[in-house]
């Protein structure tokens, strides 16, 4: 069994009002050294696959098809083998 971590992040230049709101809130809390915040999604997937490579390929395909919208988002995948 493999576990994949998928990080979906906004591309550079795409407005992230949610990140801006978090940043403003942190400034209210007194954290004045924060320059920039970008928010994204973290998705965990457990799957059966013959090899780490096969798991990686499948999760990359899933990411491109559904998890990320490549018009505005990038994704990054990590795969590790785990006990069932």
């Amino acid at each position: 069994m493999f576990k994949a971590n998928v990080y979906v992040t906004l591309k550079n230049g795409v407005l992230d009002p949610q990140g801006d709101a978090v940043k403003n809130s942190l400034q209210v809390l007194g954290y004045n050294n924060i320059d920039k915040i970008r928010t994204g999604k973290f998705i965990e997937i457990w799957l059966d696959a013959k090899s780490e490579k096969e798991a990686m390929e499948q999760v990359e395909a899933i990411s491109e098809k559904l998890l990320a919208n490549l018009v505005v988002e990038d994704y990054r995948v990590e795969v590790v083998e785990v006990e069932k």
Binding site: V14, L15, P17, A21, L66, L67, N69, V72
Partner: protein, 233 residues
């Protein structure tokens, strides 16, 4: 004319569209469930507003993979007319039938309001009953209406005259203040290059009777009927 209104789990403006077509315009209209795939008998398909699949992942992202949308891609390829309103616009962009994407509103709020729109292009299947540069009023109700695309896509949209409506003030000024959701260039509605697939965030079906505050939205529907009648002749 045979109209279809697609119903996804979470659609909420399907009945409004159906009502306008059936009771205001006396057209033949049927609901099509998202699991259905046969669109052959319809002249025009409407993807209504709402929050299909709870807007999970991204607005429209899950609905995009429903069986009816596969058929819809084929339907659109044949040059038949498709209108996506609100969530329907989001589904069309996720399905890549329209370029760009609809992001969270700039102010992070769900906006329920009535806004002015400028008719940027009048010579289309969806706006031919408006006057060029006409300023009209329509309701909006969305959390993800902030239109975005990259620079080359924006240039293409302009060059091909694909922008049909922009947010403006009551004088027709396309200003940042009138841009409630933060859309790129105040874009409220775009058509595909072929001119047969149109997506807009405002709700024309909710301004189609005087009792509901105005009839500007009705012209989107009568424009489409005009075009279908032309094709039929």
């Amino acid at each position: 004319m045979n109209f279809a209104v697609v119903v996804f789990p979470g659609s909420n403006a399907d009945k409004d569209c159906y009502h306008v077509l059936k009771n205001v315009l006396n057209e033949s209209v049927e609901y099509v469930w998202h699991q259905d795939t046969d669109l052959d008998k319809y002249d025009l398909v409407i993807l209504p507003g709402g929050a299909s699949y709870g807007d999970y992942l991204r607005a429209g992202a899950i609905a995009r993979f429903s069986p009816v949308v596969d058929s819809l891609v084929n339907f659109a390829d044949q040059g038949k007319l498709v209108l996506g309103i609100g969530n329907g616009f989001q589904v069309l962009s996720e399905a890549r039938l329209l370029p760009g994407v609809l992001l969270k509103n700039k102010n992070l709020k769900f906006i329920c309001d009535t806004t002015y729109l400028k008719v940027v292009q009048q010579d289309t299947a969806f706006t031919n009953n408006f006057k060029e540069n006409e300023v009209v009023k329509m309701p909006i109700a969305h959390g993800y209406g902030n239109y975005f695309c990259d620079e080359s896509t924006l240039k293409e949209l302009k060059d091909n005259k694909q922008i049909l409506f922009t947010y403006c003030d009551d004088n027709g000024e396309v200003s940042p203040e009138a841009n409630l959701n933060g859309s790129l260039n105040n874009i409220a509605g775009i058509v595909n290059k072929n001119g047969n697939v149109f997506g807009m965030m405002p709700h024309p079906e909710r301004h189609a009777e005087d009792i509901l505050g105005g009839t500007d939205g009705l012209k989107v529907f009568t424009s489409m009927i005009n075009r279908l009648e032309e094709v039929r002749v």
